[in-house]
């Protein structure tokens, strides 16, 4: 029996899905008709699935819209706008995206999403597996009163999403579904339900007190929000989302999400079959009676949750209010940082219950620790031929290896600039935090201050600080990477693509803002770029260099497809290769440019650099910068058609 791809089609059955795919399926089953998000790991692929559905199923276009928003705050308000016409809208974001969206959400949560429904999907990232920081954003659910489900399996991802929409509409409340990098990208079976066609059209009906949260309505809406939350608190038991694994032990565990799975396997490993576990599917609000009943039979309770103690605070509150004689233990064994694992939980529980963890596990940890120092670091880095890497080379050359220079980094692929060997970034804050920090720094320091920003980040929140830098004529060099893609998150077909199709120009924006010193350069011309950076750093006031060069990955894909097409038509195409001969091992290409298509090897007993032909994208930067002329270019079929990279 062939497995048909029924993840998003209206069929029944049990299919294997990732957590994020299951969230999208849940949306389809709930009749969602609008979704908006800014891409960010671990939630970017949610938008990709929506786009896949729209591509493969033209009928869905009649009612379903997905927007790649310019930033998270825009996406959140856009989702509220759609909900207020009576539709159901999904608003995915990563944990730090919630920081950006929180300004809008703090008001939308007061207003309520009726007549439609709205669910935010927050992808947490304990362990910072795909983010520049980790934070326990669960405190927002309390602060903004967002009832929140925390799924553990893909099945729960689907079921909780669907349920969140039903409840959101019924209780006029914005709901949250909180996944994590692990639950979003774990695969398991999901039982499919029928798909419901979303609302194609709605209408906004005027209701001034509801949608204008200013005094006096602000307070009234706050009162109503509390009323809604209290109603939801009452019905949690009926929802059947929390479950108890019973046991006779007087020490019990409360947990949720991914740590529940680790906890179950850790208990099994330690032979602790009698420990009762309360698994919370809904982490905010909590039902007082349910928590009290669970605590009542216990002498001690362990709360297992990643990052800062959220459930611990909320459970303590209930225990205190009900004067329960239960001791909260084990906090010292569970770190407040990084992600958890079965191994960590088994080790901690072994200490608490005075058990011995499995020898297999302790030996594994011990043996691994005995040799791990010899494993060479392999951090993520710029791809072969990346224009951003080539730009860092030019910055390093123009500043004599960053002498008296500060590089204010930002979020995008160039967040990797700080990694060795280039180490070309001094700080990173948040989206467009680099240019913003540079404005303040330049008022106090006479160092050369360089800020970097990519085109997607520029649109996200970068134009505002640029305007400020123009206004104060800040003594800063801003480098804008115009690579025409939101590259770091996987080249989504996002709003940047639509802007490009409409002929937008960062250059024109800079001119309109009144940038006093502006140049357009090419990362693949390092000598000219280096000179420009040198000249810019001699000038006082604000300078902007826009680097117009497409993301190397996408440029290479496009060029290869052009070549394939031409060859399929029987045309001969120039074949360019770069090769190394006479290498002096000066390390200009490996330490200052550090392209991963170059490797160090030995030929006939002599050390030399070598270019991996299958990884080189033919950007030609190493060929231009080799101080010994040891990198050579060869063109086969020189008279045949040349396929250059496309202009952007």
């Amino acid at each position: 029996m062939p497995i048909k791809d029924t993840r998003f089609s209206d069929e029944k059955g049990k299919v294997l899905m990732l957590g994020n795919e299951a969230v999208v399926r849940g949306c389809l089953e709930a009749g969602v008709s609008y979704a908006s998000q800014y891409p960010g790991t671990p939630t970017s692929d949610i938008g990709e699935y929506f786009h896949q559905i729209l591509r493969e199923n033209p009928e869905a276009k009649e009612y379903l819209v997905h927007h790649w928003a310019v930033n998270e705050a825009v996406a959140t308000s856009a989702c509220a706008g759609a909900a207020w016409t009576g539709c159901r809208s999904l608003n995915p974001m990563k944990h730090v995206g919630l920081n950006v969206a929180s300004d809008a959400l703090s008001v939308i949560a007061l207003n309520g999403p009726n007549p439609g429904a709205m669910v935010i999907l927050v992808g947490a990232d304990p362990g910072s597996l795909g983010s520049h920081q980790e934070q326990n954003e669960r405190f927002y659910t309390w602060m903004l009163h967002l009832p929140c489900f925390e799924p553990h399996t893909p099945q729960e991802c689907k079921d909780f999403t669907k349920l969140a929409f039903e409840l959101s509409e019924k209780y006029d409340t914005v709901f949250e579904v909180r996944t994590s990098t692990r639950s979003a990208h774990s695969r398991g079976y999901v039982e499919l339900g029928p798909i419901k066609r979303g609302k194609a059209k709605g209408e906004f009906i005027r209701n001034i007190p509801k949608f204008n949260s200013l005094p006096p309505h602000a307070i009234n809406n706050h009162v109503r929000l509390y009323e809604r939350i209290e109603k939801i608190r009452e019905i949690i038991l009926e929802l059947g989302v929390n479950k108890i694994i019973p046991g006779e032990n007087k020490i019990g565990i409360i947990t949720s999400g991914m740590p529940f799975g680790y906890t179950m396997e850790a208990l099994d490993q330690l032979g602790l079959d009698d420990v009762p576990v309360l698994k919370l599917g809904m982490i905010y609000p909590l039902n007082y009676e349910e928590i009290s009943n669970f605590l009542n039979s216990l002498e001690k309770v362990i709360i297992i949750e990643e990052l800062e103690p959220f459930l611990e605070v909320k459970v303590s509150e209930i225990a205190h209010h009900n004067k329960l004689n239960v001791q909260m233990i084990g906090q010292e064994y569970f770190p407040k940082y990084n992600e958890y694992s079965t191994g960590l939980i088994a080790t901690s529980l072994a200490k608490i219950f005075d058990k011995t963890p499995s020898e297999q596990m302790t030996n594994a940890i011990e043996y691994f620790n005995s040799y791990k120092e010899i494993v060479p670091a392999r951090f993520p880095t710029f791809c072969a031929g990346c224009p951003e890497r080539a730009t860092l080379y030019s910055i390093l050359k123009a500043t004599n290896q960053l002498e008296n220079t500060v590089i204010c980094g930002d979020i995008g692929c160039y967040v990797m600039s700080f990694f060795p060997p280039q180490e070309c970034s001094d700080l990173v804050i948040c989206m467009s935090g680099g240019i913003s920090a540079a404005i303040g720094m330049s008022t106090k320091s006479d160092q050369k201050i360089v800020a970097m920003i990519g085109d997607s980040t520029f649109f996200h929140t970068g134009m505002a600080p640029l305007a400020e830098a123009v206004g104060y004529n800040s003594n800063v060099l801003l480098i804008i990477f115009e690579n025409s893609w939101t590259a770091m998150t996987g080249h989504q077909d996002d709003v940047l693509r639509y802007l490009i199709n409409r002929g937008f120009s960062i250059e024109n924006i800079c001119k309109a803002l009144g940038v006093p010193w502006l140049r357009i350069e090419d990362s693949y011309n390092p000598k000219k770029l280096t000179k420009s950076i040198e000249e810019a750093l001699q000038e006082k006031g604000l300078k902007v260099i826009i680097l117009k060069r497409e993301c190397g990955l996408q440029a290479h894909r496009w060029r290869m497809s052009q070549i394939r097409d031409l060859e399929a038509q029987g045309q001969k195409v120039q074949e360019i290769t770069y090769y190394i001969s006479g290498c002096q091992v000066c390390h200009e290409c490996s330490r200052i440019l550090s392209c991963p298509a170059i490797r160090r090897t030995e030929i006939d007993g002599r050390e030399t650099m070598q270019i991996d032909e299958d990884r080189c994208i033919r950007c030609g930067v190493c060929y231009q910068i080799c101080p010994n002329g040891a990198i050579h270019k060869s063109v086969i079929h020189a008279l045949a058609t040349e396929v250059p990279f496309r202009e952007i």
Binding site: S186, G188, V375, R378, R591
Partner: protein
């Protein structure tokens, strides 16, 4: 080693971005589905694809679920020391996440190295293949290596079949039980581009594995 149908099977796949770690993981999971496996859970890494980073994935399955929820597969992540099989598409990646291995683990390694950029810059050391094998032998005698990249380049003129060759190479270890070759073949036909090449790659791997891997 003979597996019971209620045993939890743990497979780690390690490599670098762009080597097809996630595709291989999915192939095994979909083949397990074909084989009628009761519980499948697997964790994969997204978000840094193509950027030369280290990639690890976990695939776990249990042919028959038991009545006791505590004895069943509950987490998509493997516990330290609990891997039955380690498929390493790049040699040193076997060590980076070696914490999941123990004396019950079987390693299959592709010999072709992808040196991190600091190795090229001569600012860090890449251990020799002999050293890597010596460390892995500290876990188990069952360490098998082949040069799947070379075979892929020779047979297909590209390195894209490396992951499937490594799967084939791992099959004779007996550490991916309850899934038949036909299940992989069916998934390859339905889900992958160039199915003929991939099925041939699978069998090239199996052939190589049969030659050097001790039957369990």
């Amino acid at each position: 080693m003979k597996f019971k149908e209620t045993d939890i099977i743990n497979v780690v796949i390690a490599g670098t971005a762009g080597q097809g770690v996630i595709s291989l993981k999915r192939l095994i999971e979909f083949a397990a589905q074909k084989a009628g496996v009761d519980i499948i859970l697997g964790a994969e890494q997204h978000g840094l694809a193509q950027r030369e980073g280290a990639i690890i994935s976990h695939t776990r399955y249990q042919k028959k679920a038991t009545d006791d929820p505590k004895k069943n597969l509950n987490s998509s992540l493997i516990c330290y020391g609990d891997a039955d099989l380690y498929i390493c598409i790049e040699p040193v990646e076997s060590l980076r996440r070696g914490i999941f291995a123990s004396n019950k683990t079987t390693f299959v390694l592709n010999e072709r190295t992808i040196p991190p950029i600091l190795i090229t810059a001569d600012l860090d050391q890449y251990p020799s293949l002999e050293k890597i094998k010596e460390i892995l032998k500290g876990y188990t005698e069952e360490v098998y290596t082949m040069n799947a990249t070379e075979l892929s380049l020779k047979e297909f003129n590209r390195n894209q079949q490396v992951n499937i060759i490594m799967l084939g190479f791992a099959i004779p270890t007996g550490k991916i039980p309850f899934i038949d070759i036909k299940h992989y073949e069916e998934v390859i036909k339905e889900w992958l581009r160039d199915p003929d090449d991939n099925i041939r790659a699978l069998h090239l791997g199996i052939e190589k594995g049969n030659k050097i891997i001790k039957k369990n």
